[in-house]
């Protein structure tokens, strides 16, 4: 697939400045037969796609619209999809483009986070300062396990867009660097650096949430978890 072959898809191709890689990241044995209907390919990826759309748009209503609009665009361009290649990555590329083209301006972007003071191993250092590493064999779970899903969702949604998109593809979709680069049409090095920073920022947000919700305090760490 090339950038030219995607021009029939509505919405601009944001990362189309370089040749588009083929979506051939999956095991060929998992590839669908050529005659498989569009819906049969779409249905298994819909839950994760919705989760991704939710973290991109930061709105459940927008996420539903985004998944549906991307499905329509993918359906219209389905003749360009090559059977045997990665349908999920192809659909997610359309979904992220749809987000960039139509949804990104609907909601105010989060406050600007200070990237510089999100040090490496942020959570590790904070939990160690509280003496948690001597109290539990898994201090990360002791903190994160007590955070609610909504609080973790809010933490990733607080990231600036350039980090949020890459982190969502990584954490939610579990795509490899090369696959994320394929979805976003950007160099693998860009994915790596954004993910590296995004992880640090996310840890900082998660720690702030744990403090805010009383999961950790300066005086007392959570009880031991098994």
């Amino acid at each position: 697939m090339t950038a030219d072959s995607l021009r029939g898809i509505e919405g601009s191709i944001i990362f189309a400045s370089r040749p588009t890689p083929d979506f051939t990241m999956t095991d060929p044995s998992q590839a669908p037969p050529p005659a498989e209907p569009f819906e049969a390919l779409l249905a298994p990826v819909l839950d994760r796609a919705y989760a991704l759309a939710y973290h991109l748009s930061r709105s459940r209503d927008d996420a539903e619209d985004l998944v549906q609009e991307a499905a329509l665009q993918a359906f219209r361009a389905f003749h360009q999809f090559r059977p045997g290649t990665n349908f999920r990555a192809w659909y997610l590329h359309i979904l992220t483009n749809c987000f960039f083209a139509q949804y990104r301006k609907r909601k105010r972007e989060p406050r600007t986070l200070n990237i510089e003071d999100a040090e490496p191993l942020y959570l590790y250092s904070r939990t160690r300062e509280l003496g948690m590493h001597e109290k539990t064999p898994d201090p990360a779970s002791a903190v994160l396990g007590k955070l609610g899903e909504d609080q973790v969702h809010a933490a990733i949604q607080a990231l600036p867009e350039e980090y949020r998109v890459v982190c969502a593809l990584y954490f939610v979709e579990e795509l490899a660097y090369q696959e994320i680069a394929g979805v976003l049409r950007c160099p693998v090095g860009t994915v790596r650096s954004r993910l590296h920073r995004g992880r640090k920022l996310l840890q900082k947000e998660l720690w702030a949430a744990a403090r805010e919700h009383g999961i950790v305090t300066a005086k007392a760490a959570p009880e031991r978890v098994e």
Partner: protein, 90 residues
């Protein structure tokens, strides 16, 4: 030039994220793993980061699409088929 036969803490730390994601060459993976096997501090940092990744993924992936989303998508596709709109038109 002789090949590197072991990583120190700094070299391992720089590769921690990539090791977590197995985004290293087989030789780099071997060198990082060998260091983690002999350095308790780096092994502790790695185990922590691995746990963070596991916990965050578990929470983020638990979100489910509304039950009727697939049926609504199918209805939209049916309308698209029935409408006979040319590809790309709105």
């Amino acid at each position: 030039m002789s090949p590197i036969d072991r990583y120190n803490c700094e070299e391992t730390f720089r590769r921690l994220d990539d090791f977590l994601d197995r985004h290293l060459s087989p030789e780099e993976i071997r060198l990082v793993q060998e260091h983690l096997d002999t350095c308790g501090q780096c092994a502790s940092e790695y185990a922590f980061e691995e746990s963070v990744l596991r916990n965050v993924r578990a929470k983020l992936q638990r979100i489910k699409a509304p039950d009727d989303l697939l049926s609504r998508v199918r209805q939209a596709l049916e309308r698209e088929r029935g409408g006979g709109r040319p590809s790309g038109s709105r």
